[in-house]
Symmetry: D2
Subunit: 136 residues, 4 copies
């Protein structure tokens, strides 16, 4: 089950001269759903960045493009938590047309790092618990 469901309408700025969603923009679109997830678990990204106690850089990202999306298309973005590791977590995103067709998918891996040393650290227990709650 999706932890977060968002809706997004493809804008002119998302498209390219081939008339469809420019592929890299799909990553931007799903990242907004991740920002909503962080809000939901009480760790808004703006605060994480401001506090710099820890960082959560994206270390891997991938996406599949099943159907071309064009301007004005509204997609549902379903974010689910695919895995929670010692110091990382993996998110899976599925993009559906309003007809329910899977039009795209994506995945991102985030590593928790110390704000000063920038080396990986274990996920803080409270953060991990809240992620886990949304995983179930």
């Amino acid at each position: 089950m999706a932890a977060i469901k968002e809706y997004y309408t493809i804008g002119l700025h998302d498209t390219d001269a081939a008339g469809i969603l420019y592929f890299a923009n799909q990553f931007r679109i799903v990242h907004v759903a991740y920002e909503r997830l962080l809000d939901r678990i009480g760790y808004p990204l703006r605060q994480i960045i401001r506090d710099t106690v820890f960082l959560i850089p994206v270390v891997h990202a991938e996406a599949d493009f099943h159907q071309p999306l064009t301007m004005g298309d509204t997609v549902e973005i379903a974010l689910s938590i695919a895995a929670i590791g010692e110091s990382s977590f993996t998110l899976a995103y599925r993009l559906y047309s309003l007809d329910g067709d899977l039009v795209g998918s994506a995945g991102t891996v985030h590593v928790m790092a110390d704000g000063k040393t920038k080396t990986p650290i274990p996920l803080p227990p409270d953060f991990k618990n809240r992620l886990r709650e949304l995983m179930e």
Copy 2:
């Protein structure tokens, strides 16, 4: 050996409030090297889009982020042709700092499709040959 080598300096617009390259922009940066590849083999993307005889949408994209890149960093982008299939090809990109460190990598899979029916078609022989020449 890389088919294409490009240099790119991270601009302010590439970064985000965390002070580093916004991950999705790495895809944009490597795509420019792909555009140079198409120029090189005599199939400029602008012409492909204009002619609409065939399309080459990205159907899969992935990237790894080894080291954070910050504003003003110059990277070398080395594009190589990883695989050539019946109607698709796979590109691999490696991003190096000027010190020679591998700071990121990416891959894209492109499928050749008919401009009208939008269904996969075999790579045109001339296109395939030119790609193959750069693969060796």
Copy 3:
């Protein structure tokens, strides 16, 4: 009175390493309100682009940045129609914080052009009337 009111929350991708909204993204944000306006008057941009009977390129754009916006800030975008000419129209956008402070503003001038000749043409009467209705 605003013809269109939209809300937008600044995402990580909107910001830059200075920690604030990258200035050029304000233009992108207000353009989405313009896309909503075209939907509202029955001329969705996707259809205009598809039909290519006429084009409405932006010929001038300007913006003022009154207060820095940071990630997670939600702004209200109020679009009003500032002027309707023979073959052009001018839009004015005001961005407010949720406290009601004017944090930014923008303006765009759009010229109606023939889809084939690309030369200016008078605004179609129906299009002009619908714009005028929202101006009052």
Copy 4:
């Protein structure tokens, strides 16, 4: 005379479904020339952002779009310093096609602000002198 001359080739990511440069991207393209200017006068933006002694936010930006630019078009960007004030400076950008046609123009106003109080401060004398040298 232009203080900075840069060349830029419109990439797929710069265009939109109307087949031309998405207007807001022209601001991004000219800002890169400004980043080169700061490098040239010995105040690289990455260092300004890192030191946070002062900030130079854009407070106003405007652009004109004379001719549509399409993918693969190379433009020359000529940046000149239009005005130097007490605590601000104004830049003017002209974009030329390789045929020498003026295809676009832009202007940005930057205000020097204290890194802590965020209030305007006089341009540091050395900074001002270096700008002035490039103005002549």
